[in-house]
């Protein structure tokens, strides 16, 4: 189970808060809407301040540990620093702050770099809040619902959702299997740790080959089991769990519209 504990799937943090209880479609569309607003409004500290405050309020209402939410930013740390550094050295507006050998740093560059970094942080925060407060199943249902209108142009909404469900179902099973194979190989003297990158990658081959073979066998058997249970795609299928909007969703959308309107007002009217 060691590997399983390290990987928190989809990063879902079960809870009973207002945010958790919102319809997954509301949350999915809101996260998307938040990102749209983020890109449409002009970059400015007041605008991003409003959106950041809103994000913090949502995190607080959802009772999410702030540390955990911020940890979600770790994967983009490199991109963040790159964004800041590049802008600091390439934008030449505002006053000249200082000169480092041949590099000149202007105030406009510093401002621009940090603004773009703030935008990235807000973008990642909104998706983190979505996945932290929505179970993967609910999220899958929401994605299927949201993509349904695009079926007419050939987007296989149901199939995509089914693939996600099956992936979520089998990831733990495959991880367990990988651990079992790894232990078996270790017992036979395999070495996954030492050596350079190429040697380590090579040592993974005896792990990956049996894993792939078994994954294909599983897929084959699962397909047969699904057919035996009358699976024939999304047409004519009914749902066990039906998504339902509540008053909560109405209030949430009201707040969302209000915050967005304020951000737009600050951005364009002032």
């Amino acid at each position: 189970m060691s590997m399983m504990q390290q990987i928190t799937l989809g990063q879902y943090l079960p809870g009973k808060s207002v945010v958790h209880r919102l319809d997954p479609r509301t949350k999915l569309l809101m996260a998307f809407g938040f990102i749209m607003v983020l890109f449409i409004i002009t970059a400015g500290w007041v605008e991003y301040g409003i959106l950041g405050l809103a994000a913090l309020l949502i995190i607080y209402t959802a009772k999410l540990p702030l540390g955990m939410v911020l940890r979600g930013l770790r994967p983009i740390l490199i991109i963040l620093s790159l964004t800041i550094v590049l802008h600091i050295f390439s934008t030449r507006t505002g006053t000249l702050l200082f000169r480092l050998w041949f590099l000149e740093v202007y105030s406009g560059g510093v401002n621009q770099g940090f603004l773009l970094a703030a935008r990235l942080v807000l973008l990642v925060l909104s998706t983190s809040v979505l996945t932290l407060t929505t179970s993967p199943i609910a999220l899958t249902d929401a994605i299927e619902f949201v993509l349904k209108p695009f079926k007419r142009i050939g987007l296989p909404a149901h199939e995509l959702a089914m693939m996600m469900t099956i992936a979520l179902r089998f990831i733990p099973t495959l991880i367990e299997e990988a651990e079992r194979i790894m232990k078996a190989q270790l017992a036979r003297g395999a070495d996954f740790e030492s050596g350079g990158l190429i040697k380590r990658a090579k040592s993974l081959l005896p792990l990956l080959v049996p894993l792939f073979i078994s994954a294909f066998r599983r897929a084959d058997e699962l397909a047969m089991a699904m057919e035996a249970r009358c699976y024939r795609g999304g047409d004519g299928r009914t749902k066990f769990k039906v998504l339902r909007y509540t008053k909560l969703d109405f209030y949430a959308w009201t707040c969302f519209v209000a915050v967005s309107a304020l951000a737009f007002y600050v951005s364009y009217a002032l």
């Binding site: 469900t165 066998r217 089991a225 249970r229 004519g236 299928r237 009914t238 066990f240």
Partner: protein, 277 residues
């Protein structure tokens, strides 16, 4: 009408290495409420036969009628699959959803059953296999026996007329095996569910109403467990185990002890031997 009526069924697999004759004229009838065990050595054609029950495979010759419906008729395919539920060997490879109750609902969802009724069916099916406390559990955290019971519940929720278990206990530990066996026995005895159990375990086969022995794609023996296992020489020649108690009691009877002919389990043998005193 018989639930399963198979006559002169042939099946040939055509692969790169040539042809394998898997079924060579099988006749088999299963009536409502029966519990039939199918035994036979590896490669004798048991799984191939089972896949003909719900039209995963179609006859290369002969015919398969499921409650009177011919499996070759494409228009009847989904009716046939709804009536014949199948539990497979690997517990992991037949559970589709990430939550137990969602998986049980998978079949009825596919059949287009209205939501309110799906909820009822999920409740009832989980109760039938004693898994109602695990509704919201993740399947990968269950034991093998529990996973197979979830699989059985998923099939019960489709309201089938026949349940087929293809070595469904083969991957389980003794506890898991007895869980699955007692579930299926209870469904058969108390709720009249018709069942076909394919197995390598003779102690499971003796619990059936009827045992069918398959070899080289043909039915070589069929009858009550007592009748079939009394032919221990034939069974051993076919590479099959015979329950030790059954064989021992026949050998004892042949050497003069007045034992009845229907002994199948160690408990029965002990009882009868004690009665001799």
């Amino acid at each position: 009408m018989d639930i399963l009526d198979i006559a002169d069924l042939h099946h040939i697999y055509r692969g790169h290495e040539g042809e394998t004759i898997a079924l060579a004229g099988v006749d088999l009838v299963v009536s409502e409420g029966e519990f039939v065990a199918v035994i036979g050595r590896n490669g004798s054609g048991k799984s191939t036969l089972a896949k003909h029950f719900n039209a995963i495979l179609l006859p290369g010759g002969g015919r398969v009628l499921v409650a009177g419906l011919d499996t070759r008729e494409e228009a009847l395919l989904w009716s046939v699959r709804q009536m014949v539920g199948m539990v497979f060997q690997h517990p992991d490879n037949q559970i589709v959803a990430t939550v137990v109750e969602e998986d049980v609902a998978f079949g009825p969802e596919n059949l287009g059953v209205p939501t309110a009724e799906i909820i009822e069916r999920v409740d009832a099916s989980l109760r039938q296999v004693n898994m109602e406390d695990y509704r919201t559990h993740a399947p990968h955290l269950l034991s093998g026996g529990q996973k197979q019971r979830v699989a059985i519940a998923g099939i019960l929720a489709m309201r089938p007329r026949l349940i087929v278990l293809d070595e469904a206990t083969a991957m389980l530990d003794p506890i898991g095996r007895s869980e699955v066996m007692s579930t299926i026995l209870r469904l058969n005895r108390e709720e009249g569910m018709t069942a076909v159990l394919i197995t390598h375990h003779m102690d499971e086969a003796v619990k059936a109403n009827r045992v069918v022995v398959i070899d080289q794609g043909q039915v070589v023996l069929s009858g009550t467990p007592a009748e079939v296992f009394s032919q221990y020489k034939l069974l051993e020649a076919l590479g099959l185990d015979v329950p030790v108690a059954a064989k021992l009691s026949i050998l004892l009877a042949e050497s003069g002890l007045p034992l009845p002919a229907h002994i199948l389990t160690a408990e029965q043998l002990v009882d009868e031997l004690c009665r001799l005193n």
